[in-house]
């Protein structure tokens, strides 16, 4: 039996990636997820720039995870310069971070994944066949974006977040309005859980190493320590011991590995490692979705995202109640206690663990920068899943095999443009090595 699947440019993911699978005489000969985008050199852009600009530059790495990059960048700078944040700053940062997690997860679950399960090719026919579903998604997305806009000044690319705190503070009435809208949105959240609980997920299991941040007192999104399902526990400063980035010929994004050939980051890894810390309503949602750690079916990453939607809505309501009860102070950003230094910021952005690592010189300019993006960390794991999956679906016709593989790629919610760092040169043509 010979089969060849060559999906040039997988749709409904961010960026450009190709699936290449070749089966000859019933045996898997080739199985790759090619990443062909050009690198964008954001780390190089940071060199020589004042540290105050870093979060604004790196937030442009992504139009989805802009707050995630900005927050991780600020944490790297704040650790380098020993900045101690106020409780109010921590709460505001967490609130706007939740807004972005919600926005991204709603986009992925509804706009990118749901069409596969509801038998349509994209969200446009879905809007005709199931307008209630798409209108709900748009309502929830608007609320998510409005959380970011109220707290950090814009739906995307926050402008009010700065090193040590905020430059702008929302009115009490705006916080109260968000709180009421979030409470009202519980109906949409319940419908979301109900919809995704009704889907039949593809049957596929492959255990791997699940990696996330963890914190003793909450479901970790900002800061914490690295934890893995293989028992590793690392401070974020030791992230290079986790990531072990390496080059592969078919990808301009580097691959990573830790204790196995690959590892997985993202909502499913967070759920597997930290589910005990979810809000009770999110735990109920997990039960409704049939999730119980450890979940080893990568297609269920989307279901874990739905669980996190519930958690982030509930946690946002609680944060807003605390902010309203305490009253917001227009406090000045906390000052640096050092003029130079080195720091690692780490956050759980929608697609997984994000690291920013900066060194800042005595003149306040950045002297080195490294950013490791979740999608990079998932690429090797995605390929390992593809290699395990293909032998099980060989009997299917090629279009059905292709759909299974595309749905697997989409389950990871890859943000390919963000992941690309490597400039490939052909040594035969370029003369280099």
């Amino acid at each position: 039996m010979n089969k060849r699947i060559d999906v040039h440019h997988v749709t409904r993911v961010e960026g450009h990636g190709n699936i290449v699978v070749e089966v000859a005489d019933g045996k898997l000969k080739e199985c790759r997820f090619d990443v062909t985008e050009t690198p964008r050199f954001f780390e190089a852009m940071l060199l020589g720039r004042p540290y105050q600009e870093a979060s604004h530059i790196t937030s442009r790495i992504c139009g989805i995870c802009a707050t995630g990059h900005a927050t991780t960048s600020l944490r790297a700078t704040e650790k380098a310069l020993d900045v101690e944040l106020s409780e109010q700053t921590r709460l505001l940062r967490k609130l706007t971070f939740h807004g972005e997690i919600l926005d991204s997860h709603i986009l992925h679950a509804y706009m990118l994944v749901a069409p596969d399960f509801l038998g349509v090719g994209s969200v446009i026919p879905l809007a005709s066949s199931h307008p209630d579903i798409v209108l709900r998604a748009l309502r929830m997305k608007k609320l998510s974006g409005d959380i970011c806009a109220v707290v950090s000044g814009r739906h995307t690319h926050p402008i009010a977040m700065t090193v040590g705190g905020f430059t702008h503070f929302p009115e009490r009435s705006a916080l109260e309005d968000l709180r009421q809208r979030l409470i009202a949105a519980r109906a949409d959240v319940d419908e979301t859980v109900s919809l995704f609980s009704s889907l039949t997920w593809p049957e596929f299991e492959r255990d791997t190493e699940y990696v996330s941040l963890t914190k003793p007192d909450e479901y970790a999104f900002i800061d914490g320590e690295i934890i893995t399902s293989e028992g590793a526990h690392l401070p974020v400063e030791a992230y290079l011991q986790l990531t072990n980035e390496h080059l592969v010929r078919h990808s301009t994004a580097k691959h990573t590995r830790h204790r196995r050939e690959s590892y997985m980051v993202g909502a499913l890894a967070r759920f597997n490692n930290n589910s005990a810390q979810l809000h009770p309503r999110a735990k109920n949602a997990a039960a409704a979705l049939g999730l119980k750690p450890k979940v080893t079916n990568p297609y269920l990453n989307t279901a874990a995202q739905v669980v996190e939607i519930v958690h982030c809505v509930e946690d946002s309501i609680e944060i807003l109640e605390r902010l309203i009860a305490h009253g917001l102070q227009a406090e000045a950003p906390a000052p640096p206690r050092r003029s130079s230094g080195e720091g690692v910021g780490a956050c759980e952005v929608p697609r997984g663990t994000l690291f920013h690592h900066y060194a800042i010189g005595g003149d306040g300019k950045i002297t080195s920068a490294n950013c490791i993006i979740p999608t990079n960390q998932n690429l090797a794991n995605l390929e390992a899943d593809m290699r395990r999956l293909v032998p099980h679906i060989l009997d299917k016709p090629e279009p059905a095999m292709q759909l299974d593989l595309e749905m697997l790629v989409r389950a990871y919610d890859p943000c390919i443009s963000c992941s690309v760092h490597v400039l490939k040169l052909d040594p035969k043509r370029g003369g280099g090595r």
Binding site: H9, T11, R12, V13, E14, G15, H16, R60, G63, I64, L107, M111, L112, G121, S122, V123, I124, P125, A127, S128, P131, V134, L135, L138, K141, K142, G145, D146, T156, C415, S417
Partner: protein, 166 residues
């Protein structure tokens, strides 16, 4: 002001100009692609009739319906590749042209204007009147500067829009 707040206002159509939302589209960090943002800044500095709201929308993608639903008239300003000389400007309605959308939705995180409009259409959320003011870009590459041809065209575009809405 949020869209909902404006949409909730009762306007006597007979006595006031039609409520109009003007959106500047495009990425202001990508050269001429950000011309909509420039146009919005120029319009915001002018005297606008009551019931007219001008906003930079960037690349609204899937959320275009959230921006435009409930408005009787929407004017979009964008860089449009029409195969004309850089700086050439055109006004058109959706009935007059065929917007070229990617057949399949390639990069789903930021679908283009045609896709956003198709979604609004499928949801029956297109305004009664939707007008696009387009300028042929010269250079859509990273950078915050727009090219001289486009800058020159923006003056005429702003005057045209003011004539249309007054």
């Amino acid at each position: 002001m949020t869209c909902q707040a404006l949409c909730g206002q009762q306007v006597d159509a007979a006595s006031q100009p039609k409520r109009t939302l003007i959106l500047g589209l495009g990425n202001p960090l990508c050269g001429d692609d950000g011309l909509g943002n420039y146009a919005v800044q120029m319009l915001a500095a002018r005297q606008l009739p009551a019931g007219v709201k001008v906003l930079p929308a960037g690349t609204p993608g899937w959320e275009l319906p959230n921006w435009i639903s409930g408005w009787p008239r929407v004017i979009l300003i964008d860089a449009v590749q029409m195969g004309l000389e850089p700086g050439a400007r055109r006004r058109f309605t959706l009935n007059e042209v065929r917007l070229i959308a990617a057949g399949e939705i390639l990069s789903s995180h930021a679908p283009d204007l045609a896709t956003g409009l198709a979604l609004a259409d499928a949801l029956h959320q297109l305004p009664d009147e939707i007008v696009v003011y387009g300028i042929e870009p010269e250079r859509c590459e990273p950078g915050t500067e727009i090219s001289p041809h486009v800058k020159h065209a923006l003056d005429g575009l702003v005057d045209d829009i003011l004539r249309e809405i007054v």
